[in-house]
């Protein structure tokens, strides 16, 4: 038995993997060779030292954590195949993973991607979770974009309606202006278009009454003239409001475009659209107020 074979035999004996015959052979070698005995004693010291290395103890709560989280997996595993096809296994996996994040094991330190291992190729939950998150982000972004587009579209429709309402506020003013009697319609002592019943039912109009009527008519003519001027101003303001609404519509259109490009910006644009809607509403309110005057 050469030195290499003797050393290997020492290892096998110390590993408790030698046969009874091999042990006896080693005993004979060690008894005959003090140097071999010294080597064997040194090797045994190494084995004893390895045995004495303190064990690494797991943190408390590991068993409880496993038992708490294995329920989730079991729930997923207990579902039928049909359920698995349409189920939320990735969400369940995500939940388990998130739970790990709060565990004492600091699971969050583990990279989310999985380089394929020799056995569990492509089966790591975090790998699925990563893909799931990115898909979800896309879906959420698309949802925000659609919501922003809906808000913008509804605002545009609302803007045009507001524009009509702006015109509508002019209509009563125009109707009122169309019925205005002109200065030539006013005749002293005669009937006025504003009091036709009196003119036709009073067979004896007094001169004083005629004079009063002439004064009233003159006042009315003045008021009508003022109203006409105000209506003209209102028309101008409404025209301005319509222009502002048009600008707002243009801004909203721009916002809608930006919303399509970027889901994150869409939310801001929606906010701007909302502001614009508020301005339009204010404008409409002003228009209404002007009409009221």
């Amino acid at each position: 038995m050469n030195k290499q074979e003797l050393t290997e035999l020492m290892h096998a004996v110390l590993d408790d993997e030698a046969t009874a015959g091999e042990r006896r052979a080693l005993e004979r070698e060690l008894a005959a060779d003090p140097a071999a005995r010294a080597r064997f004693d040194e090797l045994r010291e190494l084995f004893d030292g390895l045995e004495r290395i303190p064990k690494a103890y797991p943190p408390e709560g590991l068993v409880a954590w496993v038992m708490a989280n294995v329920n989730i997996r079991q729930t997923g595993a207990s579902r039928g195949r049909f359920d698995q096809l349409f189920g939320w296994s990735r969400i369940i996996g995500l939940t388990a993973k998130e739970d790990r994040g709060i565990s004492p094991g600091k699971w969050a330190t583990v990279p989310s991607d999985n380089e394929h291992g020799p056995i569990f190729r492509g089966e790591h939950m975090s790998e699925k979770m990563s893909g799931s998150i990115s898909k979800r982000k896309v879906l959420i972004g698309a949802g925000i974009a659609v919501a922003a587009a809906v808000v913008t579209t509804s605002f545009l429709l609302d803007s045009s309606t507001t524009g009509k309402e702006s015109v509508g506020t002019i209509v009563p003013a125009q109707r009122y202006r169309a019925d205005q009697p002109s200065a030539s319609d006013v005749k002293a002592g005669g009937t006025t278009s504003t009091v036709p019943v009196t003119a036709t039912t009073d067979p004896q109009p007094a001169a004083g009454n005629g004079s009063q009527n002439a004064g009233r008519s003159s006042d009315n003519a003045g008021r009508n003239s003022d109203n006409a001027g105000r209506n003209s101003d209102n028309a101008g303001r409404n025209s301005d409001n319509a222009g502002r609404n048009s600008d707002n519509a243009g801004r909203n259109s721009d916002n809608a475009g930006r919303s399509s490009d970027n889901a994150g910006r869409s939310s801001d644009n929606a906010g701007r659209s909302s502001d614009n809607a508020g301005r339009s509403s204010d404008n409409a309110g002003r228009s209404s107020a002007s009409s009221g005057r």
Binding site: L14, L43, V66, V70, N71, Q74, P111, E115
Partner: protein, 195 residues
């Protein structure tokens, strides 16, 4: 030669393991709890000596048992349960090492149980020797650490190590021999009396 050979290894009651596995397959959570309680320490310990970081060892141990619960239907009872679970643990640990891309800084945070150092006279020498072996182990390659861990800390036989690492017994024996040779060389390098 008062005690030339190793003490008998810890006996793993494989029949109990198989019974627990069967109970868990039938929906008995308590059976799985017993398996976790029984194996979480050795699995954690093996993971720690492969990964050398307590956080990673904890992560791997957690993941091992979740995988065991998921894949228990794949367990072939002709193999020992602990060999199967160790194999999962080793692969999980190696996967984590690959993901990290490199071996991280050494982690010396080993929770030394009091019972290991109960004898005051042996406390200093044992602690010193343990530290030297610990330091040397930490500097071995992952392959050396794996076989030494399975053999000395998990007390696996050559056959069991072969099943866990998918190696034949002869290769296991050879790897163990070489790993110990390298460990001895490192210990000699670290030995303050020889420097």
């Amino acid at each position: 030669m008062s005690q030339p050979f190793r003490p008998p290894r810890v006996i793993v009651d494989e029949d109990t393991d198989v019974a627990l596995v069967e109970r868990f397959r039938n929906g008995d959570r308590e059976a799985f709890s017993e398996l976790v309680i029984k194996y979480h320490r050795p699995i954690y310990n093996a993971a720690f000596w492969i990964l050398r970081r307590v956080e990673d060892a904890n992560d791997v141990t957690q993941d091992v048992f979740l995988r065991v619960a998921e894949r228990l239907d794949e367990y072939d009872s002709q193999y020992k349960f602990f060999s199967w679970i160790y194999r999962i643990a080793v692969n999980e640990a190696l996967n984590l090492l690959r993901r990290n891309g490199r071996e991280e800084e050494l982690d010396d945070e080993v929770d030394v149980p009091d019972s290991e150092l109960a004898n005051p006279e042996r406390k200093v020498s044992n602690a010193e020797l343990s530290k030297r072996i610990n330091d040397a182990m930490m500097r071995l390659s992952v392959n050396d650490r794996m076989v030494l861990t399975l053999r000395h800390f998990s007390e696996c036989s050559y056959q069991e190590i072969g099943q866990i690492l998918d190696l034949d017994e002869k290769t296991v024996k050879s790897r163990l021999f070489e790993a110990r040779q390298r460990l001895r060389e490192m210990l000699n390098d670290f030995d303050p009396t020889k420097s």
